[in-house]
Amino acid sequence: MATYTLNINKKTHTIEADPKMPLLWAIRDIVGLTGTKYGCGIAQCGACTVHLNGNPVRSCSLPVSVAANKEITTIEGLSENNTHVVQLAWIKEQVPQCGYCQSGQIMAASALLKKNSTPTDADIDAAMQGHICRCGTYPRIRKAIKTASQLITQKASTK
């Protein structure tokens, strides 16, 4: 066991954990933020995606020791009131069905749009194909990313 400082959603948490323990379990079971999901444990489905220093990472396969002292953002920290453009677009397009994979999908989409606010279909494919949705909400995910992109453009033009 070792002591780590985790900066999650701009809050500092000091935790005791096995260095090999994946960040996912530190977030869920120690810090108590359950929006980040366990889906496969081998970085194949994307349900556990969080931002590490702004980049989307698979928290199920990232040892907690590697994430210490870095900026971690989870779905709970994406916005205060469900008002991030990606969240707004997800609501507008009524994307979720069961919803279990959607935290990861939203974290991936928000990371994509931060780097590229006008993604093409190919950009969306590249950024999102690591994420499984068993309910099959993919058409709406694609649509919502385009809607979010438009919202970003609208915001920029009204400034």
Binding site: M1, A17, D18, M21, P22, W25, R28, D29, I30, G32, L33, T34, G35, T36, K37, Y38, G39, C40, G41, I42, Q44, C45, A47, T74, I75, E76, L78, S79, N82, Q87, W90, I91, Q94, V95, P96, Q97, C98, G99, Y100, C101, Q102, S103, I106, I124, D125, M128, Q129, G130, H131, I132, C133, R134, C135, G136, T137, Y138, P139, R140, I141, R142
Partner: protein
């Protein structure tokens, strides 16, 4: 105003509505938050004053609480159940609190969320529940004003006196209303007057699923809860020979290592549970466990053996489900005989949320929390297994991260209850993805033999089908294995039985130790492939257009409208060169769906699925956008089972253990999908599943149209056609 506690609780039985009641309760839900889902336990329900057989509660502030008595696994019951009640209750859905009803089959009727049954099973009851509450509120207002109730109406949470415009909020009337007799006759609204039903209102659970606040089974925690993972026999039927837990017990945080047996249909599955303070410690402890299994006494089958057995079984006489005329004789004399064999694979449900369940055994009662499709089934099963009466087994619901039939099975709640009882503490049993994918139950593999006689003019004279597959019903304790599979004709539109005089459908139950269970759309998911591929083959043998051929046999006005819509939306007659178009029409849970798939070849020669057009006739329905979403999702799930994944077995064990080998469709592989809903007021059919069966035959029929190659076995590699 009443105090913040229950001062009076009136439970009123509505005349003529068995098992359906109405509570106009007086309570202010302690700690209830706007826009948040309250997870209601039996205890908290009693504190709140909510009678458990009530769908509607209104507090003195006018706050309306509606119960969802079914599981929410993505299909939308959390929206559609309240949306139906709200129509007649005259409330705005945005202002309503929605709670999951705990398991209580005696009060809610069946709570098994399966067979796409929520709306079609309860829609009239739910409308009456809303209408009776409304009528009682109107009567209470009329009494207060000393006017006739026919001079008053309800709207948006208020009762209004038509002449004067005076109004009362529902909260001001609830006390008086609860003293009244519920109306005996309720006239339900006509469809043309709907304000809430038939609207694509945004789902009330969407905001909870975009910010991480929706509580799934795996997210639920109880104070003092421990975590368990279970090393189970990978071969479904073996026994524990020996356990060495020396290293496991050295792992910090591990508290208990115990042997457990779980009920899996008529047998018990043995395993060793590692219980720890954290899930991580439990999984580390499990890795250090050394278990030897006694795998004698049952077959260690592999996939090829299973399918050989099913093919051999087809030579046996079948158990007959449905026959008409004299199909054998007609076939033998037919001008043209067509025969084909189709094969469909075993599949894993692979819900995104792996199985998990919390149990807290307290001696004289047991609390269960989890992603569950059948709370009342769990109560019945556990009663016998842990020795408590059903009413002492409190099954509490969370959101489900997918279900697809798997979470109607009760092995994982049983496991949790057994472990909690043994260690005398609340425990959450968590299945890893590998556990979830390898332990089953699976969708059964199947082999179909179809044959038909055609006349010179290409008319179907006889249609016969025989299925060899494991029979799901035969697995239960005491099952009569001489009974036919009642699902042999599922998937095939009923219209064929009216237009074809000579037919026979039978099955041969194949024996295997592999547990099998419903998988989205159940037998239709595989029957549909066989039957609609075969109908397509017949149309080609007859030299007729596949859509027109179906039109000849599906004569009713509803079928004809659906086919007309398919033709029109796909522009069927205008298919270009180098395009392959295929159609399939199936029927599942009283809903008919037609799908047209359009394929072409990429520059590299590989087949590309360009577009899917789906037309669903589910009759009366609630929320068109949810219906469309269910069809989109069903098509994508079918795509996976057609061209991406299959569960194989080797030496009695499932081979595919995780998404690296059980490949799911990804966003870059999804064709454009258009969904249309037939507009009529016929009895409602299912929505969550019927969109799935027609996709795979429509795809392979399209590939035949393009290439002349007939695909009769799923899954197939689309890159190698």
């Amino acid at each position: 105003m009443l105090a913040n506690t229950v001062t009076r609780r009136d439970f009123i039985k509505i005349g003529g509505l068995s098992s359906i009641g109405l509570t106009l309760g007086f309570y202010t839900p302690a700690g209830a938050k706007e826009n948040s889902i309250e997870l209601l336990t039996k205890e908290s329900a009693e504190t709140l004053g909510v009678e458990l057989n009530a769908w509607v509660s209104i507090d003195t502030t006018g706050k309306v609480t509606l119960m969802n008595h079914r599981s929410e696994m993505g299909q939308g019951s959390y929206q559609t159940v309240p949306q139906i009640i709200a129509e007649e209750l005259e409330v705005n859905l945005d202002q309503v609190q929605i709670l999951f009803a705990p398991g209580n089959g005696a009060k809610y009727g069946s709570q098994l969320t399966g067979g796409s049954s929520t709306v079609r099973g309860a829609y009239k009851h739910l409308m009456k529940v809303g209408a009776s509450a409304r009528e009682m509120l109107i009567e209470a207002a009329a009494n207060k004003w000393a006017v006739s109730k026919t001079d008053c109406y309800a709207e948006n949470g208020f009762v209004i006196h038509r002449a004067s415009g005076k109004k009362f909020g529902y909260g001001e009337l609830v006390q008086e209303a609860s003293k009244l007799q519920p109306p005996k006759d309720m006239k339900l609204k006509e469809a043309k007057n709907y304000k809430v039903i038939r609207q694509s209102l945004p789902r009330q659970d969407t905001p909870l699923k975009t910010n991480g606040t929706a509580i799934f089974g795996l997210d639920k925690k109880l104070p003092g809860m421990l975590y368990a993972v279970v090393e189970r026999n990978p071969r479904f039927a073996g026994k524990i020979k020996s356990v060495d837990d020396t290293e496991t017990k050295k792992v910090p945080g591990v508290r208990h290592v115990i042997s457990v047996k779980m009920s899996v249909f008529a047998s018990l599955r043995e395993g060793v549970a590692v219980v720890a303070d954290t899930l991580w410690a439990a999984t580390q402890g499990r890795k250090a466990l050394k278990v030897q299994w006694d795998d004698a006494g049952f077959e260690h089958l592999n996939t090829e053996q299973l399918f050989t057995r099913m093919r051999d079984d087809l030579k046996k006489p079948g158990l007959s489900q449905r026959t008409g005329g004299n199909a054998d004789a007609v076939f033998n004399k037919a001008e043209k005989k067509v025969e084909a064999v189709y094969e469909t694979p075993y599949e894993s449900h692979s819900c995104m949320e792996p199985l998990n369940c919390i149990a807290h055994f307290k001696g004289d009662s047991c609390d269960i929390w989890g992603p569950i499709q059948a709370p009342d089934w769990i109560q019945s099963l556990l009663t016998g297994l842990i020795g408590l009466p059903p009413e002492k087994i409190n099954v509490n619901m969370t959101f489900l991260g997918g279900g697809f039939g798997r979470k109607a099975f009760m092995d994982y709640p049983h496991e949790a209850a057994v472990i909690s009882k043994e260690i005398n503490a609340p425990v959450q049993v968590v299945w890893t993805r590998e556990d979830d994918m390898t332990q089953g139950p699976f969708r059964p593999g199947a082999v179909y033999e179809c044959k038909a006689g055609l006349s010179k003019q290409g008319n179907i004279q006889s249609f016969q089908a025989k299925i060899a597959a494991q029979n799901m019903d035969h697995q239960w304790p005491g099952a009569d294995k001489s009974t036919f599979n009642g699902s042999t004709v599922e998937g095939l539109p009923e219209g064929y039985f009216e237009s074809i005089s000579h037919y026979s459908f039978s099955d041969i139950p194949t024996e295997s130790p592999i547990p099998v269970m419903w998988w989205r759309s159940v037998y239709s998911s595989t029957n549909g492939f066989a039957y609609e591929s075969f109908i397509d083959e017949l149309s080609r043998e007859a030299g007729q257009d596949p859509l027109d051929f179906r039109r000849k046999y599906l004569g009713s006005e509803r079928y004809q409208s659906l086919i007309d819509t398919l033709e029109q939306k796909s522009n069927w007659k205008a298919r270009g060169k180098n395009e392959g178009w295929g159609v399939a029409i199936t029927e599942c849970f009283k809903t008919t769906v037609g799908e047209i798939v359009k394929v072409s070849r990429n520059a590299d020669g590989k087949i590309k699925i360009d577009k899917v057009i789906a037309v669903m006739d589910c009759g009366w329905h609630v929320n068109p956008d949810i219906v469309k979403g269910q069809v989109e999702g069903s098509i994508i799930m079918a795509l996976g089972a057609a061209i991406k994944h299959e569960t194989h077995f080797t030496d009695g064990k499932a081979v595919e253990r995780n998404f690296d080998s059980y490949k799911m469709p990804r966003i870059n592989e999804i064709p454009e999908i258009e969904v249309y809903i037939m507009d009529n007021e016929e009895k409602p059919g299912g929505v969550g599943e019927p969109g799935l069966p027609p996709f795979s035959p429509a795809l392979t029929n399209a590939i035949f149209d393009l290439t002349g190659k007939r695909i009769r076995k799923l899954p197939f590699n689309i890159n190698e056609v």
